[in-house]
């Protein structure tokens, strides 16, 4: 079973040279730590920055320089700042190659719910609806089951949707799955996890073809 770091490490392997990537809050933010140094990848922060660098050293924080999670960050050589309209412009026009974000539920046709739980205070969708509606490649980082032990990979989302038919891949503590027209296609098992365990934790349609390899994380 993967911990959060493991999920982030596995997702980092999906990031290709030359990609512009938007990382959501939570596990997706950790992915940045596992992209190899010198790998030509540019991180976009939707509040108006291309070329997000690491957190600043203590004492070097700049209140004018934050990411979409409101954390203090730094820039890198080649960075650029722009306004929110242009930021979502580049998202909508699919210039961002890969979006990685968390989810509460994903359905086997790629619908995603990650912004609202009926009965709980609704904080808002932020930029998530824009991102999922526009990104050409969306990977979801999440736990396979919720705290009550219920599957979050469903035939149909029960929570209000953030976007429709948009998720391409899911990485959980148990597995890597593609979202296909026929449902979740199991690609890899987490170390020590059996196909049976994944089956039991997945409520949506699950496609298992041939031997499912265990994932490599170096």
């Amino acid at each position: 079973m993967l911990d959060k770091t493991g999920i982030a490490k596995r997702i980092a392997k999906e990031v290709k040279r030359g990609y512009y990537v938007n990382l959501g809050i939570g596990i997706p933010t950790l992915v940045a730590n596992y992209i190899p140094q010198g790998f030509d990848v540019v991180l976009q922060s939707e509040n108006g920055l291309l070329g997000m660098g690491p957190f600043p050293f203590d004492g070097e924080e700049d209140a004018d320089l934050i990411n979409a999670g409101k954390q203090t960050i730094t820039t890198l050589p080649g960075s650029s700042f722009f306004d929110s309209a242009m930021s979502f412009g580049m998202i909508r026009s699919c210039k961002v190659d890969l979006t990685i974000l968390g989810a509460m539920e994903v359905s086997d046709n790629g619908d995603i719910a990650n912004w609202k739980i009926p009965g709980k205070m609704v904080k808002g969708m932020g930029g998530a609806m824009d991102l999922v509606a526009s990104a050409k490649n969306i990977i979801v980082a999440m736990q396979h089951v919720n705290k009550a032990g219920e599957s979050k990979l469903l035939p149909k989302c029960s929570l209000p949707l953030t976007g429709v038919g948009c998720v391409k891949k899911i990485v959980t503590e148990l597995a890597v799955l593609d979202v296909t027209q026929q449902g979740f296609k199991l690609l890899e098992r987490a170390p020590g996890i059996s196909v049976e365990q994944i089956k039991n934790a997945t409520l949506g349609r699950l496609i298992i073809e041939g031997d499912i390899p265990e994932m490599h994380l170096d």
């Binding site: 979502f88 969708m125 609806m129 976007g163």
Partner: protein, 231 residues
């Protein structure tokens, strides 16, 4: 052109009860601190505030929530504010949540004289309820209307008497679009320089969009999530 006013009190003096305001900023980054303080002091009530966030309990728009000056918030994310939650749950406060890119683009549309825009954000979700859906090239889009405000209040780094503005780093965020969308646009700046001091190639908001400008004071520039790495 000389659009300079003395201070925030002067800049906001004709903002009346029940006005609609746009306030720039993302979280606490790039917010018009001086004008918020002045609005609290003036005590104007029943405000509709269009701003990406609602501040925190004791800073930013949160200060106007404490004094019950806000009737309605139009934002993309309002999660950092306990008083906000209390007022919302008690029905004292209305909230309208809008996807962040839609919010930004609707402001820009106003400044660009475009009455409506199309965006895929929210298609198939409850955001789409009651909205026109239109298919272009096989993809569905929502039609969203431009919006403007009685007053847009923005914060820039540098400005000149013409109202030309330059923002700094990610404190730019919503400020340029809101500056374009105000019937009256008020800009507070950290540095007010003489006309001609700003490089005309580097101006983010041309002065034509700005009606009043003043040099702000005592910027706190609070950091919401101080996150550092070990050296």
């Amino acid at each position: 052109m000389n659009k300079v006013v003395d201070n925030a009190d002067e800049a906001i003096k004709d903002i009346q009860d029940n006005a609609t305001l746009m306030l720039g900023g993302f979280g606490l980054c790039g917010i018009p601190e001086n004008c918020i303080t002045a609005l609290v002091k003036k005590g104007v009530k029943g405000l509709t505030c269009i701003s990406n966030n609602a501040g925190v309990d004791d800073f930013g728009i949160g200060l106007m929530l404490q004094t019950r000056q806000v009737k309605k918030m139009i934002s993309s994310y309002v999660g950092e504010n306990a008083e906000f939650e209390r007022q919302l749950l008690s029905g004292e406060l209305e909230v309208e949540l809008i996807p962040q890119g839609t919010l930004a683009t609707r402001c820009m549309a106003s400044g660009y004289g475009m009455p409506a825009i199309y965006t895929p954000a929210g298609v198939g979700t409850e955001v789409a309820i009651g909205k026109e859906v239109r298919n272009f090239n096989g993809k569905d889009y929502l039609m969203e209307y431009a919006f403007d405000a009685d007053f847009a209040i923005v914060k820039a780094w540098k400005g000149d008497p013409h109202g030309n503005l330059i923002y700094r780093e990610t404190a730019r965020n919503f400020n340029p679009m809101m500056a374009m969308a105000g019937k009256i646009t008020i800009a507070e700046v950290e540095e007010l320089v003489p006309a001609g001091d700003l490089d005309p190639d580097q101006i983010h908001t041309p002065g034509i969009y700005v009606h009043r400008i003043f040099k702000g004071v005592n910027y706190e520039k609070r950091i919401e999530q101080r996150t550092v790495r070990k050296s």
